[in-house]
Amino acid sequence: MKRFTKLTAVIAVAVLVGSVVAQASASSARPKALGGENVEVAAVWSGAEQRSFKRVLDAFEEKTGASVTYTSTSDDIASVLEPRISGGDPPDVAMLPQPGLLNDFARSGSLQPIEDVAGAQVDKNYAPIWRELGTVDGQLYGVWFKGANKSLVWYNAKVFRDAGVKAADSYDQFVQDLQTISDFGITPLSVGAANGWTLTDIFENIYLAQAGPEKYDQLARHEIPWTDESVKQALRTMGQLFQSEFLAGGTTEALQTEFPQSVQNLFSKPPKAAVEIEADFVAGTVKGDTTAKVGKDAKFFPFPAIDGGEPPVVTGGDVAVLFKDSKGGKQLIKFLASPAAAEEWASAGGYISANKNVDPSSYADSTFRRIARLLTTSTNVRFDMSDQQPSAFGATDGQGEWQIFQNFLSNPSDVDGIAQQLETAATQAYAATTG
């Protein structure tokens, strides 16, 4: 027994020494800028997304010689980062899913400005809005590495064919198409209204398309009240969708349906619905939870224009920020701002980048290539409004916007009452965060 352990130990030591020597000789053969440097990066991604992001990090390691540790924080990244910041040991780089967090961390002085590191890259590769979104109090802190396009209308291609309906190019046409699909015998619209965010996404698309980007920004900053006529008009427009005969399972069942289920409704047999207004990540749910093929059975068209305006593009995404003033961290931020990093994930699929210099041919499939093109070429792009608001108002189950839009779904005729509820909740939430 003892002999064995001794033998194992000897072998282990031999292997270790061997590998160290091998590594040393390899790195000495081709010296790299960050050899021996350790970089830690934290993000919410797990599973397939984590694997894809690892490809990006591998490319970085390959290029610089640094070794990167990836920490998956699961959904609530703030509650992982905050204790580590107060403990003085944050990761070098983190990917934040909301601009609100970027603001919080920047204002509390936890972030390193990255103007010198990646400012030039950001100007070269991104539309100005992304610089603004990464800037707090005049300082650039973040690079929007992963983009999202929330202005898509996904549909069951077979139902559209059978019902004789095509991709709508105006909102009025869209509502008329819903009526046609309803006549055909399928409740047209699937809404995962158990999750309030699906409803805020629809509202934001309508508001951006109808009221325009300037009003959108004002409302996002609560510079105009939610009782503004433009909000009421958007609510009335949204109400056209929320007729009980349009909603899969009717109003009550829609409120009990969570997002993954709402996607499955489109491709169940027989289909329970035909259309869903949601972001690019619907493709992932279609792949994972249904037998439908994206691009063949499941297609999309961009959210249509309203009253002859410009089609909206509501975006989301993840922003890379730098917590430590480390050489490796800075290089990683710079790398993430480059087209090469984005192309790495694009080729793995399930990803779009707001980086306009990404080679379109690097996208794994035509669906994501088209979604990315919509994002980088549109001139009516705005970031998800609810993500920019205090989360008590814009992003909490059972209160604020999420709850009130659920109320609206149950009673779409009460436009004035809903606008008032939104204004009251917004006022409270903004007062709580500033006061």
Binding site: G398, Q399, Q406
Partner: protein
């Protein structure tokens, strides 16, 4: 005194010691100067609270005290302190968080729901557990029965929550509860063949509360087209064939077609029987004169019908009675705003009745048989035996079960968190869930969150004290 909690813990010993003989106070003060005292050879007459050698006892207690301090006392103390500070933890706000707690709609609702839980769940679980325990004593397969009822205790509450989330799904194809409810209701009251259907031309066919009727009246001999839309493609009867416009009926006969007025792929004209459109067989059609049914017919596979035997001088409206259109029962919205809390309580009962039953069963087994026999000999019936003898003797056991469940229910979190869909979370909210939502769920207001956990602590304390008292009394 600027001492840590552990030191404080030690300090509390001397008064008790002093009462018991005053030895250790002296010992403690003198230790630094003098050599360590030898263990007493002759045991003192009266026993010290910490045994014969308090210092040794303390030494052995130290690990437990340190752990207790670090894991229990310090967190409690810290939470109480934190609850007096604002969201970020920078500025002292006094009892502001506590005031806000009772003003906020969400918290008030959570407290109210907790009250509903505390009143209903433990009593129901104890009551049903008692019934099961008493009945189980009399069945032959009592072990099998007890194992079956106790089984859910082996499942974590989280897993039980996931199970019941599925059971309560609204869609009868997925949710067990609604699958049962809809099968029963639909069997009693079968849904119509044309459920969901509506006329393609509302301008010529109007709704009559469930069914439909032509707006104008027709004379026998004419032909009436009734186009319907919104009939699910997979629910068109399989014997349907292409729709046909009927020939005009003879004298005393009204003819017509009931068909799906929707051309697949688009392009049809509403109100016209287009070439590829399908007839609707088996639809009941009535001819109405002045509110009375004057004749009826059923459609053929091509959708045509002929109502004969009508008076040629009169005119009739054609009606499709509501039995054709009756919607299938959609099931109960178990997790909607009104039913969500009772539904979750039912899930809790499923898990905890087994516990109540087993503990009460053990209590029952301990009741001396002679007492029961005596009561029966005196002529008491079974109900009287139970009411006057068994129940009073079981009282202490019932209280144990009840108090244990009350403590359990006060801090209920997992079941509510898992079962309630996000849209009903507000209606199902309880204090522990609200604490989590406030602290981590979005607002990240840990001041208010701490205040809520202090509230929870205060609510649990009476039950705890009661339990400890009872334990002491048992020992005495």
């Amino acid at each position: 005194m600027a001492e840590g909690p552990t030191q404080g813990g030690v300090d509390q010993v001397p008064p008790a010691a002093a009462a018991a003989g005053g030895r250790s106070v002296l010992a403690k003060r003198e230790v630094p100067q003098e050599a360590p005292p030898r263990p007493p050879i002759v045991p003192p007459r009266r026993q010290h609270a910490l045994g014969y050698n308090p210092r040794l006892a303390l030494f052995f207690l130290l690990p437990a005290l340190v752990l207790l301090g670090a894991l229990m006392l310090y967190p409690i103390w810290y939470t109480i302190g934190r609850s007096l500070f604002d969201r970020a933890g920078d500025s002292f706000v006094g009892i502001d968080n506590y005031r806000r707690m009772f003003e906020l709609d969400a918290t008030r609702r959570a407290i109210r729901n907790n009250a509903i839980w505390v009143v209903s769940a433990p009593t129901l679980a104890t009551g049903i557990g008692l019934v099961f325990a008493v009945l189980a004593e009399r069945v032959r397969w009592q072990t099998a029965f007890k194992v079956a009822v106790f089984m859910p205790m082996a499942i974590s509450l989280l897993a039980a929550g996931v199970i019941f989330r599925l059971v309560y799904e609204q869609d009868p194809d997925r949710g067990l509860a609604n699958a049962v409810a809809t099968s029963v209701v639909d069997a009693v009251r079968p849904p119509g063949e044309l459920a969901g259907g509506r006329p393609s031309q509302p301008e010529s066919v109007r709704s009559t509360g469930g069914g439909y009727e032509t707006r104008r009246a027709f004379r026998p001999g004419s032909s009436v087209p009734i186009g319907l839309v919104a009939i699910p493609p997979d629910e068109i009867p399989s014997d349907a064939v292409r729709a046909r416009s009927p020939a005009r009926g003879g004298p005393g006969t009204l003819t017509g077609t009931v068909w799906v007025d929707f051309t697949r792929g688009g392009g049809g004209t509403p109100g016209v029987v287009d070439p590829t459109e399908q007839g609707l067989p088996g639809v009941k059609v009535e001819a109405i004169r002045a509110g009375d049914v004057a004749g009826s017919a059923t459609t053929d596979p091509d959708g045509t019908f002929a109502v004969s035997g009508l008076d040629r001088s009169d005119s009739y409206r054609i009606a499709l009675p509501s039995s054709n259109f009756r919607e299938p029962y959609g099931g109960v919205t178990w997790l909607g705003p009104t039913l969500v809390t009772p539904s979750i309580i039912a899930a809790f009962l499923w898990v905890w009745i087994g516990f109540a039953m087993i503990v009460i069963g053990a209590g029952l087994a301990a009741i001396p048989r002679e007492v029961l026999e005596a009561a029966r000999t005196d002529g008491a019936n079974e109900w009287q035996v139970f009411r006057r003898v068994t129940a009073p003797l079981l009282r202490p056991v019932l209280l144990v079960v009840l108090v244990t469940l009350v403590i359990n229910v006060l801090k209920i979190f997992d079941l509510v968190f898992v079962i309630a869909p996000p849209s009903s979370q507000r209606d199902a909210n309880v204090v522990a869930l609200e604490m989590w939502r406030v602290s981590f769920g979005g607002a990240r207001d840990q001041g208010l969150g701490s205040a809520l956990s202090v509230l929870l602590f205060v609510l649990v304390v009476p039950a705890m004290i009661y339990n400890i008292r009872r334990l002491r009394a048992d020992r005495a």
